[in-house]
């Protein structure tokens, strides 16, 4: 017996805008209360921020000092060197996006060149910024003139690049079967992880000159870089150790059965797999380091935050701390958020945790 069934449409209150509102904001009486409370909170905060930001805030302190925020006291007639470095990095970034992007399969050969380019760009940047003594094209710029966002980036990039090999060595040392090596690595890692970064920076700033033989002088920026490297290496080591633990034992055994030597097993079989798994936590470590570079304020380097401090100390910008610190916070937020977004994309692209 065939019956003609009438298609009953869902009730008006469960679809469309009213349905969404009911389900997500007013499902129960206490949810409705929470919604109204949240609306009130948003209203108060936004109204305060918007009226202050549009009427009372003096944003000219930011626009006037924009170059100072970006490169600090770097000589203005040499500023083109900084911009040149930025352009190189942007070009390399763009190339990487193309080569590893959706149409990247056609550029397999180019990938190698882009990687080489990245490796070359690092010493090139340092060389370009430092210059050489006694010529007019690239006169030497002392590191005490490095500052602002430029110094923030340099410190974090040098920190992560230099601490990576050290961290891998420490991680291998901590898993070593030789007790002397294992104890040393464990002691180092736990000691560093147990004390605050400020202590390590303070130690690098004060004790490093003491440790070195007389006559060897290390400038302040380099000392901070050493401090960040020593500190971050301990954390990278723990990340890498996690990656090493994730490589199945069968991989070691298979590699040994094929007759690879100990170094070959590590370099060709285990480390490539382990490092692939720890790319996301290492990017996270880089973001942490990027934020932590602000601590060089305490040892007196002119990074972004310290430039902000010096800007609010200028007589004509007295009392504009809200504007300046908010601006600095926004800059840090933009870069950190962009990096963590990229890291999440990378995690998906690598398929970590899916296999």
């Amino acid at each position: 017996m065939a019956t003609v069934s009438e298609v009953i449409r869902p009730p008006r209150t469960s679809v469309g805008v009213p349905g969404w509102l009911k389900e997500n904001l007013f499902s129960t009486w206490y949810n409705a209360l929470l919604t109204f409370g949240s609306l009130g909170l948003i209203y108060v905060v936004l109204r305060g921020l918007v009226t202050w930001g549009l009427t009372r805030a003096r944003w000219d302190v930011v626009t006037t000092n924009l170059t100072l925020f970006l490169i600090g006291p770097f000589p203005r007639d040499q500023a083109w060197r900084v911009w040149a470095c930025v352009i190189v990095v942007i070009l390399l970034g763009g190339l990487s996006l193309v080569v590893w992007g959706p149409v990247g399969r056609r550029f397999k050969v180019a990938r190698r060149w882009v990687v080489i380019g990245w490796f070359l760009s690092f010493p090139l940047t340092i060389l370009l910024l430092r210059g050489f003594g006694g010529n007019s094209v690239l006169p030497a710029v002392s590191t005490s003139y490095w500052g602002g966002l430029l110094l923030t980036f340099l410190l974090s990039i040098v920190g992560i690049v230099a601490s990576f090999p050290l961290g891998v060595l420490l991680a291998l040392g901590r898993r070593s079967s030789l007790p002397a090596v294992r104890w040393f690595s464990t002691l180092y890692i736990e000691l560093i992880r147990g004390v605050p970064l400020v202590t390590v920076l303070f130690m690098a700033a004060i004790m490093l000159p003491l440790f070195l033989p007389e006559g060897v002088r290390v400038d302040k920026v380099l000392r901070a870089m050493v401090g960040f490297t020593l500190f971050t290496a301990a954390y990278i080591a723990e990340n890498v150790r996690g990656g090493l633990a994730a490589v199945p034992l069968g991989q070691y055994e298979a590699a040994k059965a094929l007759g690879l030597s100990g170094v070959q097993v590590m370099g060709l079989i285990v480390l490539p797999q382990a490092l692939r798994a720890v790319i996301p936590p290492i990017v996270g470590q880089f973001i942490t380091l990027f934020k932590d570079t602000s601590l060089v304020v305490i040892i007196g380097l002119l990074d972004l935050l310290n430039i902000a401090k010096s800007v609010v100390a200028q007589p004509q910008f007295m009392g504009l701390k809200r504007e300046v610190y908010l601006f600095v916070a926004v800059i840090y937020f933009i870069f950190s958020y962009a990096m963590s977004y990229a890291s999440r994309r990378l995690e998906v692209a690598l398929g970590v945790g899916e296999r």
């Binding site: 997500n24 904001l25 499902s27 949810n31 929470l34 919604t35 949240s38 609306l39 909170l41 948003i42 079967s177 030789l178 007790p179 002397a180 090596v181 040393f184 000691l191 147990g194 004390v195 605050p196 970064l197 400020v198 202590t199 303070f202 130690m203 004060i206 004790m207 000159p209 003491l210 440790f211 070195l212 033989p213 007389e214 973001i287 934020k291 932590d292 602000s294 601590l295 304020v297 305490i298 935050l305 902000a308 401090k309 609010v312 701390k321 809200r322 610190y325 908010l326 600095v328 916070a329 840090y332 937020f333 950190s336 958020y337 963590s340």
Partner: protein, 396 residues
């Protein structure tokens, strides 16, 4: 291809010692140790040479000297006290801000972590914005915003903002009402101690009795009620109230009475709590999400209410996942309190920095700082590991 003669399994041709794994292991360890000792020795001799050329001796004798500098807040201290006492003031200040910070950050993190999973879209998004904003800006910048841009811009003491409950907020910090013991406080203390003893006994007996009877234990509310009843009886038995609430009052340039918090302490506390709270929220969220969906459905199926599901099913299981990362957040909070030096809160790092500036004893001061933080870290992780062992599931 030439046929090799079969290797005789019976002939024991000695492996040359430089290819013997056992010898290599020992030799490589010895050479590593020698290398480390040699490097340390070079650094040490350089350091000693450098110290001597600066006219500094070793030892911790300098700690007995008179400090001679002021410390803004903390336990009783006078500039004529020794450096050791000054350092102790710093340690106590660090512990104070860390302990209060840990307690408040846990509450904030718990609320925000649960809010992050709320089915209410607006609450969910507010928590998400909070977490992302805080986690992606440096703590030091947040500390500067709290201190320079918010607290120091509050009204002057004379025009301070009065909140309900006699709380006053101004650019000189916060003033809260505090308890002041009266003459009868000591006799009331006995009731308090008795109440604590009864509560502990009830607590232990509760779980034991429940195990013997094979029945769920009576509610914790009864234990709390026993405590409250005993303490209240004591309050009325002793002559007069054991303590009175002392309300802060404006006298001259600052508030007198009650508990006064300096702007540095308030800024440090706010920055640490808000910053760590965002990280704890993520830890809590991950922990709750780690509880499998079936557990929640089963709890609903046996008729538990939403609150009961959260309290009896989700939290106990989530706790196991939450505790280890929560421990490292607590440690981070204690370590991050060293940023106090940037706003002049006299914590241990700040005081030690002043001691270093006055005496120049770099090595000893750094050793003291490191030892203090390491002891604090070890102690915290010990406590948390004990707690962790309690909540972990015992697998057969």
């Amino acid at each position: 291809m030439t046929q090799k003669p079969p290797v005789s399994t019976t002939s024991h041709r000695a492996v040359p010692f430089w290819r013997d794994v056992r010898v290599i292991r020992v030799l490589s360890q010895i050479s590593f140790a020698v290398l480390v000792v040699f490097a340390a020795g070079v650094l040490y001799s350089n350091m000693m040479h450098g110290l001597k050329s600066r006219g500094l001796g070793g030892g911790f004798d300098f700690l007995k000297l008179e400090a001679g500098f002021q410390i803004g807040e903390g336990i009783t201290y006078d500039p004529s006290d020794s450096y050791a006492r000054a350092f102790l003031v710093g340690v106590v200040n660090t512990l104070r801000v860390s302990a209060v910070g840990i307690a408040l950050a846990t509450i904030l993190g718990l609320v925000m972590g649960v809010a992050r999973l709320s089915t209410n879209w607006l609450v969910n998004k507010i928590a998400a914005v909070y977490v992302e904003l805080i986690r992606n800006t440096p703590l030091l910048v947040q500390l500067f915003v709290w201190y320079f841009a918010i607290i120091l811009k509050l009204p002057k003491v004379q025009e301070s903002i009065a909140l309900p409950g006699s709380i006053f907020i101004s650019n000189r910090g916060a003033a809260l009402p505090g308890p002041v013991p009266t003459a009868s406080f000591n006799s009331w203390l006995y009731y308090l101690m008795a109440a604590v003893a009864v509560t502990i006994a009830l607590w232990i007996g509760r779980a034991r009795g429940a195990r013997r009877m094979g029945r769920p234990p009576f509610s914790l509310l009864w234990v709390a009620a026993a405590f409250v009843i005993l303490v209240t009886i004591g309050w009325f038995v002793v002559p007069g109230a054991p303590f009175v609430w002392d309300k802060p009052s404006l006298q001259g340039w600052n508030y007198q009475g009650g508990i006064t918090l300096t702007p540095e302490f308030v800024a440090m506390l706010l920055a640490l709590v808000v910053y760590t709270g965002a990280f704890i929220a993520e830890v809590v969220r991950a922990g709750i999400q780690a509880v499998s969906r079936g557990q929640i459905e089963a709890a609903r199926a046996v008729g538990l209410t939403e609150a009961q599901t959260l309290r009896l099913v989700i939290f106990p299981q989530a706790l196991r996942v939450i505790i280890p990362p929560l421990t490292s957040q607590y440690l981070n909070l204690a370590k991050n309190s060293s940023l106090a030096i940037a706003i002049g809160f006299p914590d241990l790092f700040n005081v030690a920095g002043t001691i270093f500036n006055q005496t120049g004893q770099a090595v000893q001061v750094i050793a003291l700082i490191m030892a203090s933080y390491l002891i604090m870290s070890l102690f915290t992780s010990l406590l948390m590991n004990l707690y962790n062992r309690r909540v972990q599931i015992v697998e057969r």
